[in-house]
Amino acid sequence: MTLLIQVQLPDGGWAYILSIIFVSLQVSVTAVGVSTLVSLPVALLVGFTDFPGKRVVTAVINTGMGFPSVVVGLVVLILLSNSGPLGGFDLAFTPQAMMISQFILATPVITSVSLSAVESVEQSVRDAAFAMGGTDADVGLVVIKEARYGIVTAILAGFGRAISEVGSILIVGGNIVFSDGQSYTRTLTTAITVEARQGRYEIGLVLGAILLLLVLGVNGLGSWLRSKGRGERSA
């Protein structure tokens, strides 16, 4: 039995769909990239050092994983709007605004999971790096290298949170498409909401399938890296 689904492509056709895939990836990859650059040093700092209030900081990071995305979007929009404190940068309803909100949502996820990975590296390994003449930076690099598979998991989790996010980017991005049918701030997730609202469920499902394939591809890459790590250990 052959199941055929007749899909009426939206105006702009595949060029439109490719443009929203591009915007989705551009926003999420940039946000997760910047988030990783911030999260890793924070995870190393919190994981390495004892300081008053460490438990509170850890609790705040973990709580951040549950930030409601629409609240984040609302706060970012207020900050970036013309009357907001950052209004002068003119970033509201731009891909950069979407990156900021995704950065805020992904950072606690990447930091928290990275922190667990960093803390699982034994003190004796850090001691060995120090004893071999390593500086603090060298010891940090050793820890990152030893925790690399956990850190990959953290980045994947952050990417999953970012790429599947809809609430905040809808608020701060505005879901804008140019008159020539090319996406400016429309992503796969926000496009699905548009198609669903207009009753065009087939194209919504196609977009959903593309989104799933993207997430699946990235997670497949992560699984491969992790299995490579396990293979090394048992080699």
Partner: protein
Amino acid sequence: MTLSAATVSVSYGPDTVLNDVSLGVEAGEVVTVVGPSGTGKTTLLRLLGMFRRPDDGTITWNDTDVWGLSETERLAVRRRISMVFQEPSLFNAPVAQNVTYGQRVREPWRERIRKSIRNLVGDRTLSESARDALDTVGLLDKADQNALSLSGGEAQRVAFARALAVDPEIVLLDEPSSNLDPRNTAVLEDAIRRARERGVGVVVATHDMNQAERISDRVGFIYDGKLVETGPPSQIFDTPNDSRTKQFVDGELMYDVEETTNGQARKSTSVSP
């Protein structure tokens, strides 16, 4: 070249782990620190390795207080010393990369990045000193194997090779053979003798008195945080000056609680009835 602890004391809270201890090592000398578990041997080695500064007293390198040096100068001194721990603490990487780690951190960043890229594309050339070090511990054939897949004995030998590969002037060994079988212990002790012949100063912390007698030029007996007696093995093991040394040699001092690596867990050594 001399590395010395001079009248050092260390306390953790109310517990005094080391009390006014002085001990040094010179080039081409093997000094063994013996004593029951938890009496401060590891703490003394960590002071000599500059993991922390003593609460009192000084750690000196050629009569210079290392904690009076700038961080860069102290790093330069640290890089003339290497240390092996009770656990091998190898990295999740091939044996060759473990052994060359100390050499890599001594290189400029540009060179390190260049070598990392070469390594990624499959260039696994070993430096001469890394090759010599692996050969010394009999594991040259394991260079490409992942270090975490080695047996306990092999791993400890790789840890020793890693310490030797940087051509150190001093090597600190903390209970290096406590988890080794007799064959691996013999290989390690042979490697220690060969290092001494090359002019390396070695400090070994152990509670294995037979090993101390086999490899030492000088033995220090440490008990309850105090250095009770130092002397050649013949003195310590045959004609000790202090009654506590004799009790330890005769196996009459009990080991009650293990000391942790940072010396924070205290013990209560006691004389058996």
